[in-house]
C-alpha cells in the first residue's frame, strides 16, 4: 500500500535526482515510479474527491454564487472536452510530455495541470458512474451471475483499457532490479537527507491536507473577498465535517467492496485482473490526493494560505480526533496519513520510522510476485487432498494382556475349565419306580410278553420253574379231586341220583349211564373194555358213521373215548385216529397207554401222559374237547410185516416172569414199556407181537427216521414177530378161508394164545414158536362152525369157554383137545355174541346171544342150563364187558365192586354193578369148580 511517507520519499528523491541530473536512466525510472505512485494515490483519493465533488456540486447548485460556479464548471468542461477526445491516447501523450518535461523541466507545472484536469475528468467520469451506478452495480453484483460480472468487468476494462494496459505494461517493465536499486538508493540516503526529506514531507503534507480539501476553493479564494472567504470558511467547516463522515462511509464501503472482490478472487482465479483493477482504482484515488498535494505544495507559496493555516490546523486536529475516536480500525494508510498530518503540529521534530512500512511494501511486492507465480502454477498443477491411514493398532483385549503378563513363556492357553458348567439342580419329585417287563416273544418260562415286573422277583423264585410240571400236577390233581367229588356225590345221593338207576337187569344192582355227548350221538359203540388193573377206567370204541361228513369234523375217522366210571359226565380222554378202530386195550400195569387195532390193519398207540396242549382242540357248542392224535401209528411203516386185514383183537401180554402185582410195583413207570408185549390178531390169522419202546429223549420237532412217531412222542411200537396161523383142518377146502374171530391168552402162561376161527376149531399157539400138545381144540362132530368168542376163567383152573354161531357153548381145558362140557340149544340156536366168566365166582358165567338175551349160568347150582335168562334190551347190544374183581382174583382195583358194561347200538353205555348174588364168592366154590373140572376130564 502506498503511503504518504513513501510518496514524499519518492518526491524527495525525484527532486534530488532532478537537480543532480545524474542518471538519465534512473530519472526515467523514477518518473515512472512517480507516475505509478501518483496513479495509486489518484486511485485512492478518487473516491474522496468524487464525494467531495459531488457534495460541492450540490452545494454549488444551492449556492448564491451559482454563476461563478457555473462559469468554472463550464471552464472545466471546456478544458476537459478536448481531453476527452484524446482520452485513449492520453497516457501515451502524457508520457511524451513527461519526457519533454524531463528535458525541459519547466513544463512540469503545465503537465501537472493537465493531470489535474485529467483527474478532474476522471473524477467526473466516475461521478457519472458513481453513487447511483455504484449502488446499482453492487446490487447487480449480488444478483448477477459471474458471467454478467465478467461482462461488466470487460466493459469497465474497455473504458479505460488503454490507460490500464499502459499502466500494467509499465508496472511489468519495472523489474525487481529496478526496485532493488531504488531501495538501495534509499538506504544510501543519509539520515540527514531523510530528516530533511521528512521535514519537507511534513510541510508538504500539511499543505496537501489543505489542498486535499480545498482544491476548488483555493481557486475561488483567489478571486473572493475576505468576507466571502470567512463566510465560506464557516460553510467549509460544516462541509468538511460532512465530508469526513461521508469519506468514512465511503471508505467503509470501499473496504467492503474490496472484501467482496477478494472473495470473488478466491472464487474465481480469473477475477484476478479485476482485483488488480480495483487496486488501480484505489491508487488513482491516492494519486489524486497526492496530485492535490503536489498542487498545494506548489501553491503553498501563495501567501494567502498562511493566513488560513491556523484555522485549518485547528480544524484538522479536531477532525482527526473525531476520526480517531470513531475509526480506530482505519487502514494503516489512513492512520499514517493522519499521523503525518498531526505530528508536525504536536512535535515538529519527532522521528518517524518508515522502515517497517517500507518493508511491508517490499514484502507485499514479493508476496504478490509469489502469489502470481503460485497462481500460474496452480493452473498447471492439480493438488488434491488425500487421507491416509498410517497406522492402526487395536487395543489389546484384557485376556491377551492377562496372558501376556501372567502366562508362561512358550506355552499357550488353550482351554479353561471353570466350575460354571457344574450345574446342580434340586428336584422334589418322588423316586422313580422301575419295573421290568418282558418284551420278547416267544415268552421265556412263564413270563409272557408285557407281563412280569420287578416286584415279582420274589414270586418268581417261589414259583415253580417248570410250567409243564405244574400243568401235569394240576391235571392229575384235578382229575383225582374231580373223581373223589363225583364218587362222594354218588354215594351220598345213591337213591335220588337220576344217574344211578335201578337196574332192570337182574344181575346188576344199579347202573350208571355215561353221558351221551352231542358229537358222539351218531357214533355207535363197537367195542368196550375195562382196564384190567384200574377197573374204574374203560374204553369205548366207536364205529365210524358214514352219516357224518368228515369235513365237518375235526376228529378223523376213528374215535375212542376213555372214561372214568366215577366221572360219567365227561370222557377223560378223547382219542382220534385215521381209520376206524376195531378193538382196543389198556396197557397192562398202568392205564397210561391205549392201543387200538384199526380196520386197515394198522396198530396205533396213544400216550395219555402227553400234555393236552400238544393236541388239537375242537370246540362244539361252548364245550371244548381235546382230540388226541395217536402217538405212534404203524400204518405204512412196516410194509411186509404189517397186518393186511382188519385187526380183530389187541391184547397186552404181561411177561410170564412177572405177576401183575409185582410187575406193577417192581418196575415202575419208567421201564413199564419193556415189561409187556402187544399181541394183535387180524382177520386173516396173523398174530403179531409188538414191543412197546419208551423213548427217553423225545424230539418235539419229530423224528426224521421214524415217520410213525408223532412229534414229541415218547412211545413207539417195534414189531418183534409174526405168527401165521394155519388151519388145523386137513380139509384143504376150508384152509384158505381161515378167518379168526377172537383171541385169548392163557392167564397163567401168556406164551400160549388161543384163537377162535371160522373152522370150529380153536387154534392153540405159542409166542416163541414150537408146538403145544393140543394143536387145536375142536368139537367132536368136527363141523366147520364159526366160534365167535372165547374167555378164560380168571381163576387158577386153565379152562376157557367158547361160544359159537350155532349157539353151542363149550368148556375146554387147555390140556384136552375136546371140550369138557358142551351145551347146545340153550340159546335156541341163536348165535352167541359174548361169553364171559364171572370175575368174582369161578362157576358163574354170562352168555349174550344175538337177540340180546343174557343167560346167567351157575355151574355150582345147575350145570345143565342157565340159571337165569333175561332179555336185556330190544336195542342191539354192541359190547359186553366185565371188570376184574380184586377181592376174588387179586386183579383190578381193590374195594371196587365188579362192574359190567352194556353198550348199545344207539351209543348208550350202561355201567352196571354186578349184584351181590353173583359177586359174592363162596369159600368152597373154587374147590367145587376144580372138582367139577377134574371130574369132567
Amino acid at each position: 500500500m502506498p503511503s504518504g511517507k513513501r510518496l514524499d520519499d519518492t518526491w524527495k528523491t525525484d527532486e534530488l535526482k532532478n537537480s543532480l541530473k545524474k542518471d538519465e536512466k534512473k530519472k526515467s525510472s523514477k518518473d515512472k515510479e512517480r507516475k505509478e505512485d501518483r496513479d495509486r494515490e489518484k486511485k485512492r483519493d478518487k473516491k474522496k474527491d468524487e464525494d467531495r465533488d459531488r457534495k460541492r456540486d450540490k452545494e454549488r447548485r444551492k449556492d448564491e454564487d451559482s454563476d461563478r460556479k457555473h462559469r468554472k464548471d463550464d471552464g472545466e468542461r471546456e478544458r476537459r472536452r478536448p481531453k476527452e477526445d484524446e482520452d485513449e491516447g492520453e497516457r501515451q501523450r502524457r508520457k511524451e510530455e513527461r519526457r519533454k518535461r524531463k528535458e525541459g523541466g519547466e513544463s512540469e507545472k503545465k503537465e501537472r495541470k493537465y493531470r489535474d484536469e485529467d483527474d478532474d475528468e476522471k473524477r467526473r467520469r466516475r461521478k457519472d458512474e458513481t453513487s447511483q451506478e455504484r449502488d446499482e452495480r453492487r446490487r447487480r453484483r449480488k444478483e448477477e451471475t459471474s458471467q454478467e460480472r465478467e461482462e461488466r468487468r470487460r466493459r469497465r476494462k474497455d473504458e479505460t483499457s488503454q490507460e490500464r494496459d499502459e499502466r500494467r505494461r509499465r508496472k511489468k517493465d519495472e523489474t525487481s532490479q529496478e526496485r532493488d536499486e531504488r531501495r538501495r538508493r534509499r538506504k544510501e540516503e543519509t539520515s540527514e537527507e531523510r530528516e530533511k526529506r521528512k521535514r519537507e514531507e511534513r510541510r508538504k503534507r500539511k499543505e496537501d491536507k489543505e489542498n486535499e480539501d480545498n482544491d476548488d476553493r483555493r481557486r475561488h479564494r483567489r478571486d473572493e473577498t475576505s468576507e466571502e472567504r470567512r463566510k465560506r470558511h464557516e460553510e467549509k467547516k460544516e462541509k468538511r465535517r460532512k465530508e469526513k463522515e461521508e469519506r468514512e462511509r465511503q471508505e467503509e464501503e470501499e473496504r467492503r467492496r474490496q472484501e467482496e472482490l477478494a472473495k470473488q478472487n478466491n472464487e474465481d482465479e480469473n477475477n484476478y485482473d479485476n482485483y488488480e483493477d480495483d487496486f488501480e482504482d484505489y491508487d488513482d484515488d491516492f494519486e489524486d490526493d497526492a496530485g492535490g498535494g503536489d498542487d498545494s505544495a506548489n501553491d503553498e507559496q501563495n501567501n494567502e494560505m498562511s493566513d488560513l493555516m491556523k484555522a485549518m490546523n485547528d480544524e484538522n486536529e479536531r477532525l482527526l480526533k473525531d476520526s480517531r475516536k470513531r475509526d480506530n480500525d482505519y487502514d494503516d494508510d489512513e492512520e499514517s496519513g493522519n499521523e503525518s498530518d498531526t505530528r508536525p503540529e504536536k512535535s515538529g521534530s519527532t522521528f518517524i520510522n518508515f522502515v517497517s512500512a517500507k518493508q511491508r511494501v517490499i514484502s507485499n511486492a514479493a508476496m504478490s510476485k509469489t502469489k502470481k507465480r503460485g497462481q500460474e502454477l496452480l493452473k498447471l498443477i492439480e493438488l488434491d487432498c488425500s487421507n491416509l491411514d498410517m497406522f492402526d493398532m487395536p487395543p489389546v483385549n484384557e485376556y491377551d494382556l492377562y496372558i501376556r503378563s501372567f502366562g508362561r513363556a512358550d506355552t499357550q492357553q488353550v482351554y479353561i475349565q471353570t466350575n460354571e458348567d457344574n450345574a446342580d439342580k434340586d428336584n422334589q419329585t418322588e423316586e422313580i419306580d422301575y419295573r421290568d417287563k418282558w418284551s420278547q416273544h416267544p415268552p421265556e418260562g412263564f413270563k409272557a410278553c408285557g407281563t412280569g415286573d420287578g416286584n415279582d422277583e420274589n414270586e418268581i423264585s417261589t414259583k415253580p420253574d417248570d410250567i409243564k410240571r405244574l400243568n401235569k400236577f394240576l391235571n392229575t390233581a384235578c382229575q383225582a379231586v374231580l373223581t373223589l367229588l363225583e364218587e362222594n356225590l354218588m354215594e351220598t345221593k345213591s337213591e335220588e341220583d337220576p344217574g344211578r338207576k335201578k337196574s332192570r337187569v337182574v344181575v346188576s344192582e344199579e347202573y350208571i349211564q355215561l353221558a351221551q355227548l352231542e358229537f358222539l350221538k351218531d357214533f355207535p359203540v363197537r367195542y368196550a373194555t375195562f382196564s384190567p388193573t384200574q377197573s374204574n377206567l374203560l374204553i369205548i370204541v366207536h364205529e365210524f358213521s358214514s352219516k357224518k361228513e368228515e369235513a365237518n369234523h375235526n376228529y378223523q375217522k376213528g374215535l375212542i373215548c376213555m372214561w372214568n366210571v366215577g366221572e360219567p359226565s365227561f370222557p377223560q380222554k378223547i382219542l382220534t385216529c385215521e381209520n376206524e378202530p376195531m378193538c382196543a386195550c389198556f396197557s397192562p400195569n398202568k392205564a397210561t397207554l391205549i392201543f387200538a387195532g384199526l380196520s386197515d390193519g394198522s396198530l396205533v398207540v396213544w400216550d395219555l401222559r402227553e400234555a393236552s396242549n400238544f393236541h388239537k382242540t375242537f370246540k362244539d357248542e361252548s364245550v371244548e374237547y381235546v382230540l388226541r392224535g395217536p402217538t405212534y401209528n404203524t400204518a405204512a411203516i412196516l410194509e411186509n410185516d404189517n397186518h393186511y386185514a382188519p385187526i380183530k383183537s389187541v391184547t397186552a401180554i404181561i411177561s410170564p416172569d412177572n405177576t401183575a402185582d409185582s410187575g406193577f410195583t417192581k418196575n415202575g413207570s419208567s421201564i413199564e414199556g419193556l415189561t409187556f408185549q402187544i399181541a394183535t390178531l387180524d382177520e386173516s390169522g396173523v398174530v403179531s407181537l409188538w414191543v412197546v419202546a419208551e423213548i427217553s429223549n423225545p424230539d418235539p420237532a419229530g423224528s426224521q427216521t421214524d415217520f410213525g412217531l408223532a412229534p414229541g412222542g415218547r412211545v413207539k411200537l417195534i414189531k418183534s414177530s409174526s405168527i401165521y396161523l394155519e388151519s388145523p383142518l386137513r380139509d384143504t377146502r376150508l384152509r384158505s378161508t381161515l378167518q379168526c374171530t377172537d383171541f385169548a391168552v392163557l392167564p397163567s402162561d401168556p406164551s400160549h394164545f388161543y384163537v377162535t376161527t371160522n373152522t370150529g376149531c380153536i387154534i392153540h399157539g405159542i409166542r416163541y414158536g414150537g408146538k403145544a400138545p393140543p394143536k387145536a381144540y375142536r368139537n367132536m362132530p368136527d363141523l366147520p362152525v364159526t366160534v365167535t368168542c372165547i374167555d378164560f376163567s380168571p381163576f387158577t383152573e386153565p379152562v376157557f369157554l367158547t361160544g359159537s354161531e350155532n349157539g353151542e357153548i363149550h368148556l375146554y381145558h387147555t390140556r384136552s383137545e375136546n371140550p369138557l362140557l358142551s351145551w347146545s340149544d340153550t340159546t335156541e340156536g341163536r348165535a352167541i355174541k359174548f361169553i364171559k366168566f364171572c370175575r368174582s365166582r369161578p362157576s358163574v358165567f354170562f352168555v349174550v346171544d344175538e337177540m340180546n338175551t343174557l343167560y346167567i349160568w351157575d355151574l355150582s347150582m345147575l350145570d345143565s342150563g342157565p340159571a337165569k335168562t333175561e332179555k336185556i334190551s330190544e336195542i342191539n347190544l354192541k359190547a359186553f364187558c366185565l371188570s376184574n374183581d380184586h377181592s376174588a382174583t387179586g386183579q383190578g382195583l381193590p374195594g371196587r365192586k365188579p362192574q359190567m358194561i352194556l353198550a348199545f347200538e344207539d351209543s348208550v353205555v350202561e355201567v352196571h354193578t354186578v349184584s351181590q348174588k353173583f359177586s359174592a364168592l363162596f369159600p368152597e366154590e373154587v374147590d367145587q369148580f376144580a372138582e367139577l373140572i377134574n371130574n369132567s376130564l
Binding site: L377, L383, C385, N387, L388, M390, F391, D392, P395, V396
Partner: protein, 118 residues
C-alpha cells in the same frame, strides 16, 4: 518388558518451479523408501527398550537418518518430510492418520512400522 513402536512417514511436495514434475527416473518410489526406512529403523531400534526420555533423541536421530538416506536415493524436485513416532506398547489402541494436500500424480508417501517385544 517394554516395547518400541515406530511409525513414520515421508511426504514430499513439489517445488515451486516451472519444471513442476520430476523425471520418471527420479520419481518417488514408496517401496524403495520403505525399505530404507525399515533398515534405518532396524539398526536404530533393534535391541532397544522403550524409555520416554531417550525416545525424543531417537526420533530426531532416526528422522535425520532417514531423511539423509532418502535424499541419497536421488529424488530430485521433492521436498521430503519425515515423521517419526515412537510409542510404548502397553495394550492401548493406536490409530494414526494423515491428510496430505498434494499432487497425487507425483507425490507419495512411504511408511514402515517397527515393533519389538522385549
Amino acid at each position: 518388558m517394554a516395547e518400541v513402536e515406530t511409525n513414520q512417514q515421508n511426504e514430499e511436495t513439489s517445488q515451486n518451479t516451472y519444471i513442476i514434475r520430476p523425471s520418471y527416473q527420479s520419481k518417488f518410489r514408496s517401496a524403495a523408501v520403505k525399505e530404507t526406512i525399515h533398515q534405518v529403523l532396524k539398526e536404530h531400534l533393534k535391541e532397544k527398550i522403550y524409555s520416554a526420555e531417550d525416545s525424543m533423541m531417537w526420533t530426531r536421530d532416526i528422522s535425520e537418518d532417514i531423511k539423509a538416506k532418502v535424499k541419497d536415493l536421488g529424488y530430485e524436485r521433492y521436498k521430503l518430510l519425515v515423521q517419526v513416532v515412537i510409542g510404548e506398547l502397553r495394550g492401548e489402541g493406536v490409530k494414526m492418520a494423515c491428510r496430505c494436500f498434494w499432487d497425487s500424480d507425483t507425490d507419495n508417501y512411504a511408511q514402515d512400522v517397527f515393533m519389538n517385544v522385549k
